[in-house]
């Protein structure tokens, strides 16, 4: 018998084999259940309804109408005269017309209360890349970023996986509607120090994911003061800024800087994207807006790994620089999201469920803690499994968002039709009734 000599398996890197991509968490497990049995209005009415994906589908018709009426956006005009330059354009500065359109769109969203310089905009293929890129620039492997909980589950992967940077949570709880306090920030900082981790920055999401609420002015002032005090960076992920239900309730960190005469601005960086407000996650459009020249230059160079297709830049430059379109879109989108939010809150209330008072985003933060057997993470996950497998709804458990209080769930409402939302609410109502009876 021949002796089998086993060939040594060729090795992979630590990054490749690490679990930091986090795809084993319940956040993603629920998606699997949905993929295997997706709800469909006609062909699969008993399937799982996806309420774990923060996607905005309520305003597609506005986009379609624009594209229908403006073929030059998708075709470079008759005979395609601008096509050649566009197809060759791979400059990491990005199309000037697109940067200008993005700057102006960001200003419109903030009601003109802050100004943006197109030369400070760095383009990336999505906010995911923007957040990772900033982390590479602001922190070294082994350093730490402070992030208020609950936070978007994707941060664990996006900010830590390839960068080697740690996340230290700033614990927030329902006693004050999960607002960020100076005490909580200080506690997190101390916690990092005690673990010998150098804190390089604080990253906030405003409006918050998963809370669905904007951060108040006073809190923003305190957060900026904290960053100045500790001489660290402040990253404000404002990806949902255009998804606030009323224009006046969102206050951007840019406005705070404006009132302070841009003092201490060099530590502030804003992340934005068109994936949520414009409902175009497939286009892969993200931006870093930094008040720090060194960060702008470095981010631009690093963006070579994540450039936006020049075709897409051209299309969006046309669309967003059309003031008539952009103003109408922002206004209409807000109204529709607000209406959806009211619908889901009313529906949940009828079922006896309370939510955190929200004013933005594509989701609500639902409180099911009264239903838990015990106020533990295990109880929460058990309840989540029941909702996934019996009620057939994929919602995101608070523990996947690192929420320190068990029993909270994020429920998305903008990625489906109104009819589907009604059905989801009906299922919840039935479930709650059954629970009451037992």
């Amino acid at each position: 018998m021949a002796i089998e000599i086993e060939q040594p398996r060729v090795g992979l890197s630590k990054v490749a084999v690490s679990k930091t991509h986090g795809e084993d968490s319940p956040y993603f497990a629920g998606w699997k259940a949905y993929d295997e049995n997706p709800y469909h209005e006609t062909s699969n009415q008993s399937g799982v309804i996806q309420m774990g994906l923060a996607e905005n589908q309520v305003s597609f018709d506005l986009l379609e109408k624009y594209l229908e009426e403006h073929s030059e956006a998708s075709s470079w005009g008759k005979g395609a005269p601008g096509f050649r330059e566009n197809a060759l354009f791979q400059d990491y500065h990005g199309l000037k017309s697109f940067r200008q359109a993005m700057a102006s769109f960001m200003e419109q969203i903030r009601g003109g209360r802050a100004k943006f310089d197109p030369d400070r905009i760095v383009l990336t293929a999505g906010a995911t890349a923007a957040n990772e890129l900033l982390t590479f620039i602001l922190a070294d492997p082994g350093d730490a970023l402070l992030i208020p909980t609950p936070y978007y589950p994707g941060f664990d992967r996006d900010l830590r996986w390839r960068t080697g940077v740690n996340i230290v949570p700033i614990h927030c709880d329902s006693s004050n509607n999960f607002q960020i306090t100076p005490e909580a920030m200080e506690a997190a900082y101390q916690s990092a120090e005690s673990m010998n981790l150098k804190v390089r920055g604080i990253l906030i999401t405003n409006p918050s994911n998963p809370l669905g609420a904007t951060i108040q002015r006073s809190a923003l002032e305190q957060i900026l003061d904290f960053a100045v005090n500790k001489n660290i960076h402040l990253v404000s992920d404002e990806i949902y800024s255009g998804s606030t239900f009323s224009s006046s309730e969102f206050i951007s960190i840019a406005e705070i800087l404006e009132t302070r005469g841009y003092k201490d601005a060099e530590r502030v960086h804003i992340v934005y994207s068109l994936s949520k407000d414009l409902g175009l996650p497939g286009f892969r459009v993200g931006t870093i807006y930094s008040y720090n020249d060194q960060v702008v230059t470095t981010a631009r160079r690093m963006s070579s790994f994540t450039l936006i297709s020049s075709q897409t830049q051209h299309l969006l430059a046309c669309m967003l620089s059309n003031k008539e379109f952009s103003e109408n879109y922002i206004k209409t989108n807000r109204e529709r999201l607000s209406k959806r939010y009211d619908m889901i809150i009313k529906g949940l209330k009828k079922a006896g469920i309370e939510c955190l008072k929200g004013n933005a985003g594509l989701f609500c933060w639902m409180n099911l803690s009264p239903l838990l057997e015990k106020p533990t993470r295990e109880s929460e996950l058990a309840l989540w499994k029941v909702i996934l497998n019996e009620v057939k709804l994929n919602i995101s458990p608070g523990s996947s968002c690192h929420c320190s209080e068990p029993g909270w769930f994020r429920v998305c409402f903008a990625n489906m039709s109104e009819q589907t939302l009604e059905i989801a609410l009906e299922r919840i109502r039935k479930f709650m009734e059954q629970r009451k009876r037992n």
Partner: protein, 510 residues
């Protein structure tokens, strides 16, 4: 004088203490008052503009915006060590030349004294074909009218990060076609990325840890220094090739480099190849591919084969892909990864379309997850599915492209020959590798860079010096000819001649 006196009194102890401290304090106080009155006004409520007008060439010593003058923060906020090295002004002639050419670009009519760009391997020879296709087909390709109804849903929403199956299928077909149909590519083994640049970086993240290294034959594409090293912390170890055998790779050299590096305590994780080679333009023979695979198996390392110029052949040699060799022999496929993209063969660098093709399921699984950081934009995916599936167009494009490449290459190389400048033997790529060593003042990198500078600033042509490509022999330059029209060639040759007018060897037959 007046200041000294009180201090003298202090020293001599005659009531000078009061004067000694009072007068300097008073002077200091008045100085403050003067400065306060003449201080510039507080900045307007406008966001600070970047302090340099051309940030690409930014001098990084002055980094603060105006408002920092009034900041009371203790120190400047710090950026990471990774970022600091990237922020430094780029000194490589590769990038400096590109910048200069883009600031003052040559145009036959509107800017005849501008810099002629021969440093960017871009193919402009067949845009007329693509433009024609666009104007005939574009209306329906982006937004995808289903039954006449505009439907953005298909491209707006989240797509699989590693590319749609439709595009993978179309790419697999295209890649197979340009490689002469000798190999079939499986869409399920493909991961699409926003260009070949992130494809290379992603593979490095998957195959090597920080501090590890890849062997890379020289001369190599200057961009590899960025793609491989910037964020991964992985090193590149050059394996030098020489003109005596037309810069062919030798296994002996690979072996030597491997052993040397291991002695220094660095772990080699793989070999990074370009085939067709950039900047030389030669091909790896079938035998050499076998030899490389044997070497890789012996050392248990990976092989990355960047085949981005596979469809830019002008010579008569046959291109053999790593995939083709693997198909035919019993090699361990798990260590081979191919990189491709549409920037060169289809002239669409702006659209950002790259491919990682691997036979290793674990690498594919990791790479797929990493594409969330660099995905192909959905409207572009849809456009390309349409274009790549148009068999008649692709057939015509490939044929015409090859013919025009052959033509330009022949004209350009003959032109250089007329100036007594020989080029290395090459069969592919958008450039030729020219030997200008006889024209440099001293046979050294310094001499080479002096010539490069003369060509750029006197001759007004941008070419890439061999040192930027880590070539061990000075005097070689990469000249891309696919950004030119035929009429431009005599202009280029004349400029070279003018730039080196004082050098004796030029125009004398050897």
């Amino acid at each position: 004088m007046r200041l000294i006196v009180p201090l003298q009194s202090v020293v001599q102890g005659r009531g000078g203490l009061i004067f000694g401290s009072l007068i300097p304090c008073a002077l200091f106080y008045f100085l403050q008052l003067y400065l306060k009155r003449h201080r510039s006004p507080k900045p307007q409520s406008n966001p600070p503009s970047p302090t340099t007008s051309s940030p690409k060439l930014a001098e990084m010593t002055r980094t603060s915006s105006r408002s920092n003058l009034f900041s009371r923060s203790i120190g400047q906020v710090r950026i990471s060590s990774r970022a600091i090295s990237i922020a430094k002004p780029n000194e490589s002639p590769y990038y400096i030349g590109l910048d200069k050419a883009s600031e003052d670009p040559y145009d036959r009519l509107s800017n005849p004294d501008g810099v002629i760009q021969l440093g960017l391997s871009e193919n402009r020879l067949c845009f007329d074909l693509i433009e024609k296709w666009m104007s005939e087909n574009l209306g329906h390709s982006i937004t995808g009218r289903d039954n006449g109804e505009l439907n953005i849903n298909g491209i707006a929403t989240y797509q699989p990060f590693d590319g749609t199956m439709e595009l993978k299928l179309a790419m697999a077909g295209f890649m197979s076609h340009i490689m002469g149909g000798a190999v079939t590519f499986e869409p399920s083994q493909m991961v699409l990325t926003a260009g070949a640049t992130p494809a290379i970086e992603t593979l490095c993240f998957c195959l090597a840890d920080q501090g590890n290294a890849f062997l890379v034959p020289t001369p190599y594409y200057p961009g590899f220094d960025r793609d491989v090293k910037f964020r991964t912390g992985v090193e590149l170890i050059p394996v030098h090739c020489r003109s005596t055998d037309n810069f062919a790779l030798s296994i002996t050299a690979l072996d030597q480099a491997f052993n040397q590096t291991r002695k220094h305590g660095t772990k080699i994780r793989g070999i990074l190849l370009s085939n067709p080679a950039n900047p030389v333009g030669n091909l790896l023979s079938r035998e050499m591919l076998y030899a490389i695979l044997d070497f890789a198996r012996e050392k248990n390392i990976h092989v990355i084969s960047d085949e981005i110029f596979a469809g830019s052949m002008y010579g008569n040699e046959e291109f053999v892909s790593m995939a083709e060799v693997l198909d035919s022999e019993g090699f361990d496929k798990n260590r081979v990864h191919i990189v491709y993209g549409l920037s060169k063969d289809l002239s669409l660098p702006g659209f950002r379309v790259g491919v990682i093709y691997s036979f290793n399921e674990n690498v594919l699984a990791a790479a797929r997850k990493l594409t969330r950081f660099s995905s192909v934009s959905a409207p572009t995916q849809r456009l390309l599915v349409s274009m790549l599936s148009d068999a008649r167009f692709i057939e015509e494009y490939i044929k015409t492209n090859k013919r025009r490449l052959q033509n330009m290459h022949a004209l350009f190389v003959a032109g250089l020959k007329g100036l007594n400048i020989r080029c290395a033997d090459s069969s592919a790529g958008l450039y030729c590798w020219a030997d200008m060593s006889k024209l440099i003042s001293s046979y050294s990198e310094k001499g080479e860079l002096e010539l490069w500078d003369k060509l750029l600033n006197v001759g007004k042509i941008n070419v890439t010096p061999g040192s930027a490509c880590h070539c061990i022999e000075p005097g070689w330059f990469r000249c891309c000819f696919t950004t030119l029209a035929e009429e431009d060639i005599p202009v280029v040759l004349e400029r070279i001649r003018k730039a080196v007018e004082n050098t004796t060897d030029l125009l004398n037959s050897s």
